[in-house]
């Protein structure tokens, strides 16, 4: 009996070692552990044994059974692993084929530049203000120290709706509207659409966009203006960017300046982009004229401020190397896709 059990055990172990697929494994299980299996057969024949032998043989059979079950489990895992590997081996795809197209649009390049500008100034504590595009002559000119018949009106040829209403030629009127309604400290930027009577060509458009900035508080200095513009220029054009201020004239600021940034193409050495000057003019700025503060009911003896304005189209064109302003308003999808 003992020998018989031992031979069943070794037969089972040998078969299991060599099993190659799940079906054979199941057959082996049935052959040894099934209802009519060999080990089950031994247990059934135990009635013929003596009471002394019975527990011994029973224990032996249980040990062998355990041994076979363990081996079945082990080989089952081995086969599963093998099957998975075979499956994986057949499943190779061409990963160089193009991905599935997900519809996704693009922001217009002007919005992208505007977003960057807004982000920089929000980071510096500015809020965003807006004002009407069809504007009173008073806000667009008079309150900005540009009375009727002022020669500066000629340089900004305006579209008129009637004697008192104009398409705003600059975002500066928003300054006035904000100052009229809010007490200092004021720290705002006003992005928006402006209009000047220029024919459409590669560098001109009767409609374009500006971002105006205004800070009014006690003790605001020209140094603050320069520092602010430096941070702005570096955020937008890179850490190595320098700025240069040149005296200029705007009726609503005094002192006034035009501001250049070192060329993003050559860093200042001179190239095609900067017409060999090393500098590119991007904005106008200055200290708010005391008359303008007064007009808005802010005491220039107590408060001072600075203002600046920049052209979004020019910035975007420089930024993305766009050589024709008309492209920005043509909305050709092949153009828009590039940004």
């Amino acid at each position: 009996m003992k020998e018989q059990i031992e031979s069943i055990a070794s037969e089972a172990m040998e078969k299991l070692e060599n099993v190659q697929d799940m079906k054979s494994l199941e057959e082996i299980r049935v052959l040894f552990l099934g209802k009519k299996g060999k080990l089950t057969g031994i247990l059934k024949g135990m009635g013929a044994l003596s009471p002394e032998e019975r527990p011994v043989v029973g224990q032996m059979v249980n040990e062998v059974r355990k041994q076979v079950e363990d081996s079945i489990l082990k080989n089952k895992n081995r086969l599963l692993q093998k099957e998975r590997e075979e499956k994986i081996a057949k499943e190779t795809i061409d990963v160089t084929m193009p991905g599935t197209l997900l519809a996704r649009g693009k922001k217009h390049p002007l919005t992208q530049v505007l977003d960057e500008i807004k982000e920089v100034f929000i980071g510096m504590g500015y809020e965003i203000a807006e004002g009407p595009e069809v504007e009173l002559d008073y806000y667009n000119f008079e309150a900005l120290n540009i009375p009727k018949n002022h020669p500066a009106r000629d340089t900004q040829d305006s579209f008129y709706i009637n004697e008192n209403v104009v398409l705003r030629t600059q975002t500066s009127p928003v300054q006035i509207r904000v100052m009229e309604n809010k007490k200092p400290p004021i720290k705002i930027i006003c992005p928006g659409r402006v209009y000047r009577s220029d024919q459409v060509d590669a560098t001109h458009s009767p409609i374009f966009h500006q971002v105006e900035g205004l800070v009014v508080d006690k003790g605001v200095t020209m140094g603050d203006l320069i520092g602010t513009l430096q941070v702005f220029a570096r955020s937008l054009f890179g850490e190595d960017t320098n700025i240069r201020l040149r005296p200029h004239h705007f009726p609503f600021t005094e002192p006034s300046a035009e501001v250049d940034v070192s060329c993003w193409g050559c860093g200042g050495k001179g190239c095609r982009i900067c017409k060999n000057e090393g500098w590119i003019e991007i904005l106008g700025a200055g200290m708010v004229h005391p008359k303008v503060l007064e007009i808005c009911g802010i005491d220039p003896k107590v408060y001072s401020g600075f203002a600046f304005g920049l052209g979004v189209e020019r910035t975007a064109m420089g930024r993305f190397n766009i050589d024709d302003m008309r492209l920005l308003y043509e909305n050709d999808m092949r153009f828009l896709k590039q940004f």
Binding site: A103, R104, G105, K106, K107, H108, L110, F121, I122, M124, G125, Y126, E127, E133, V134, L136, N149, P151, A152, Y160, N162, N164, L167, K187, R193, S197, P206, I207, V215, D217, K218, G219, V220, T221, M222, G223, D224, I226, G227, V231, R244, R246, P247, H248, H249, E254, S256, A257, H289, P290, K291, S304, L328, Y329, E330, N331, D332, R334, L336, K337
Partner: protein, 792 residues
């Protein structure tokens, strides 16, 4: 303003090279636009005299000349038809640099040549600069300059600096003004011209002429001198060169002198043929509405009573400050002249110039407002040059009519306030020194500054600050960052954030953002099929547009979006998918300014349909958490397909339209037949959005799901079916989901089958079939009664 460098050097010591000068002046406020060096690429070209000239032995068209170039006589082969023995001509020597290249000794048809005779083109000059140059051939000097001299010197070829002068600085519209700026910038000496007039004419000016100013508000001063024995001839070459380099065409000695003085001193001058001024009486008055004048350019100009003219007893002889009249023009026969130096009101000159359509060098200066105190020095400078050039005899005395005296302006220097404004620590002494150099009257004890009459731009302390800052150099001011000032919170408002969200959503649906013009043409109304009295036709009209296409502010964005779709369709873009956020402008009765409303516009064509567009908007509303949005059939919008348009409302507020564009409109705009556009009001969407979010418990009990297929009349919109289902659905109806609409053989003609999945759930127990059956029965009864819908 173009300034030849030698002219500046007459009045200021320039101790840096031209590039440095340009940079420093730019940084102190006189912006240099360009430096044009007329002699830049010309080296080793000298004056030569043709000693002899023979025929070339081997070529009919060539000549062999012996040319004296000072140090030697050289042989030059030339093909120029216009030169003769004895002519003085420019010769490029061997080794000379010309714009066209380097000159080498060479053999021309077997004869040695050691140089080249030059035309003005070869010297890179134009006939504007040398009006006496022949059209073809070598330039011949008229004035026989010294042989061997550098032609750059002889022709006055020198660097010319072009400045951009801002409107507040008319004083810098002159050589003197720029020289003054340069001297302060460079800290070098500045001197004004020394003006003396000999007055060798007979009698007194007042014997020949009188001046009356009828409108002192338009002319604060009018001064005149009289010159007799006038000899009209060309002005000397040096004067012609300077005028040409500064951009003015030389004419004759008298006109050139007046222009020369204008450029040098900034005061426009005019010379009248005094014999053409009836009675010698100058009357400065406004014109009559019926008066006409022919100006110096030969054009007839209609005058009116808003314009100031210079007249004699009978007729206008000049439009004041704008242009002289032909009737009193200085001509070769002129014997006696009246020199005008006056101060006219800038605004009046500007408006008159605009009306008559003339912008002259003179009007350009007057417009900005000139210095009254410059009138007499300029007049005297003019007289001095006439004497120096032998152009006539200046009669003693000036007729000076000066009804409105200029006022002197004093400002007390407040160095502390200036430093506070600039963020600097500049010494008071430095400032006082600066203002002295700028010709302010300076009382060093009191700090009271007297503003010179030519600086009308300086009126308040901030103006003084700018003077200080620009000569201190803006770029020497230490950058600071508002430290110690009130801190503010930078952020976007709720609306601004929601607008960002709308853009993000549009991008995620695959739409590209566009920017279109906000003005449009009134022609689009007909193309949009708008009836005559349609409210959208009521637009803000631009009085001075760039043409009809840009003449009104848009009241709808549909035409521009159709324009975008057309552009892309024409360019073979298969699927057009665009959006824009922009304003429309609607006039409001009784208000000065129109209402400006921001709208979201979506435009689609290609692989798309109405439901794709509607899906975009439903998703957008879901993202913005907009409840109560409703889409109802709209048959009456003229621009849309009557069967494929929905009116969108949120709550009870009209929000816009979505749909397929009317085929005729699509055709009119050259768009594809199936074009889809939505226009929605952004403010309404944002006001009805809700970004406060709150978690609701997940369902605890299982749902029971029932599918139904109904047969209804075609015309019944699913919206109505759903309304009935909801009405009878009790509180346990959780969701209605449309999964099929079928029309065809399986259902009767004129009917459709609509299939729904209805989900029932209770928040506090597991529903039984019986409970659901009861509700289903109510729903089906309701559908039957209200819509005559039957179960399929």
């Amino acid at each position: 303003m173009k300034a030849p460098i030698s002219w500046l050097k007459d009045y200021v010591n320039i101790n840096v090279d031209i590039e440095k000068l340009a940079e420093l002046l730019t940084l102190s406020g006189s912006k240099v636009e360009a430096v044009e060096d007329l002699g830049k690429s010309i080296e080793n070209v000298v004056v030569g005299k043709i000693v002899s000239m023979d025929k070339h032995p081997n070529a009919d068209k060539l000549k062999v000349a012996q040319v004296d170039v000072g140090k030697e006589v050289i042989q030059v082969v030339t093909g120029a038809p216009n030169v003769q023995v004895g002519d003085y001509i420019p010769v490029a020597l061997v080794g000379a640099h010309l714009p066209g290249g380097k000159i080498k000794a060479s053999k021309l048809r077997g004869v040695e040549s050691y140089g080249m005779m030059c035309s003005i083109e070869e010297l890179n000059l134009t006939s504007d600069y040398l009006p006496d140059a022949p059209e073809n051939g070598v330039y011949v000097f008229r004035n026989k300059p010294e042989v061997g001299r550098d032609v750059k010197e002889v022709l006055g070829l020198e660097p010319v600096i072009e400045f951009e002068i801002t409107s507040n600085r008319p004083d810098c519209f002159s050589i003197i003004g720029l020289a003054r700026e340069a001297s302060v910038t460079l800290s070098t000496d500045f001197k004004k011209p020394e003006i003396t007039v000999k007055e060798e004419g007979k009698g007194k000016a007042s014997d020949h002429a009188s001046v009356v100013i009828k409108n002192p508000e338009l002319c604060s001063r009018y001064a005149a001198r009289v010159v007799t024995d006038v000899k009209i001839e060309p002005s000397p070459e040096w004067m012609q060169r300077r005028l040409a380099a500064a951009g003015m065409r030389p004419i004759n000695n008298i006109v050139d002198i007046t222009n020369y003085v204008m450029l040098e001193m900034g005061q426009p001058m005019h010379a009248f043929d005094l014999e053409c001024v009836d009675g010698g009486n100058i009357i400065v008055r406004t014109a009559r509405d019926d008066e006409v004048i022919t100006t110096l350019d030969g054009q007839k100009r209609q005058l009116d009573s808003s314009m100031l003219v210079i007249a004699d007893e009978n007729k206008p002889v000049a439009i004041a400050g704008v242009m002289g009249g032909e009737n009193s023009e200085v001509t070769s026969g002129t014997r006696m002249i009246l020199l005008e130096s006056a101060n006219f009101n800038g605004t009046s000159v500007r408006l008159t110039g605009k009306k008559v359509g003339i912008r002259s060098e003179a009007s350009n200066r007057f417009e900005k407002g000139l210095d009254v105190e410059n009138v007499i020095p300029a007049l005297n400078r003019c007289a001095q040059l006439i004497e120096e050039l032998g152009a006539g005899k200046v009669v003693p005395g000036i007729v000076d009519c000066y009804p409105v005296k200029s006022e002197t302006v004093e400002i007390e220097l407040n160095d502390k306030e200036i430093n506070n404004l600039l963020g600097t620590d500049i010494k008071r002494e430095w400032m006082l020194d600066l203002f002295e150099k700028l010709e302010f009257g300076v009382d060093r004890d009191s700090g009271i500054l007297t503003v010179p009459s030519f600086r009308a731009d300086v009126r308040v302390q901030a103006d003084l600050a700018e003077e200080v800052a620009r000569f201190y150099d803006y770029n020497n001011i230490k950058p600071t960052l508002l430290s110690g000032k009130s801190s503010t919170l930078g952020r976007k408002t709720y609306s601004q954030k929601m607008e960002d969200l709308i853009i993000q959503q549009m991008l995620s649906f695959g739409l590209y953002e566009t920017y279109t013009f906000s003005f449009t043409s009134p022609k689009v109304w007909d193309k949009m099929r708008l009836p005559k009295e349609h409210e959208l036709r009521n637009a803000v009209v631009i009085t001075n547009p760039l043409g009809e296409d840009f003449s009104i502010m848009r009241t709808t964005t549909i035409p521009e979006m159709l324009g975008v779709l057309k552009t892309n369709y024409n360019r073979k873009v298969e699927d057009g998918r665009f959006f824009e956020i922009s304003y429309v402008y609607r006039p409001i009765e009784g208000q000065m300014l129109p209402e400006e409303r921001k709208v979201l516009t979506i435009g689609l064509y290609g692989n798309t349909d109405f439901y794709y567009l509607k899906g975009i908007i439903e998703q957008l509303f879901a993202q913005m958490n907009i409840k109560d949005a409703d889409f109802s059939p709209e048959k009456n919008h003229p621009a849309y397909h009557p069967g494929r348009c929905a009116r969108v409302t949120i709550g009870n507020t009209a929000t816009g339209y979505i749909g397929e564009i009317h085929p005729e409109v699509a055709d009119n705009f050259e768009c594809p037949a199936r074009t889809y556009i939505a226009v929605l009001d952004i403010k309404t969407m944002i006001e009805n959005s809700n970004m406060t979010k709150e978690y609701k418990g997940l369902p605890k009990y299982p749902a029971i799901v029932r599918d139904i297929a109904l047969v209804v009349k075609n015309e019944i919109p699913v919206k109505d079916i759903e309304a009935v289902i909801r009405q009878f659905g009790d509180t346990i109806l959780e969701e209605i989901k449309l999964f099929d609409v079928y029309k065809g053989e399986q259902v009767p003609e004129g009917m459709k089958s609509v299939a729904y999945t209805l989900t029932f759930r209770s928040p506090d127990k597991t529903l039984t079939d019986d409970e659901v059956n009861r509700v289903m029965e109510n729903i089906l009864n309701g559908l039957k009664t209200d819509l005559n819908a039957t179960l399929r």
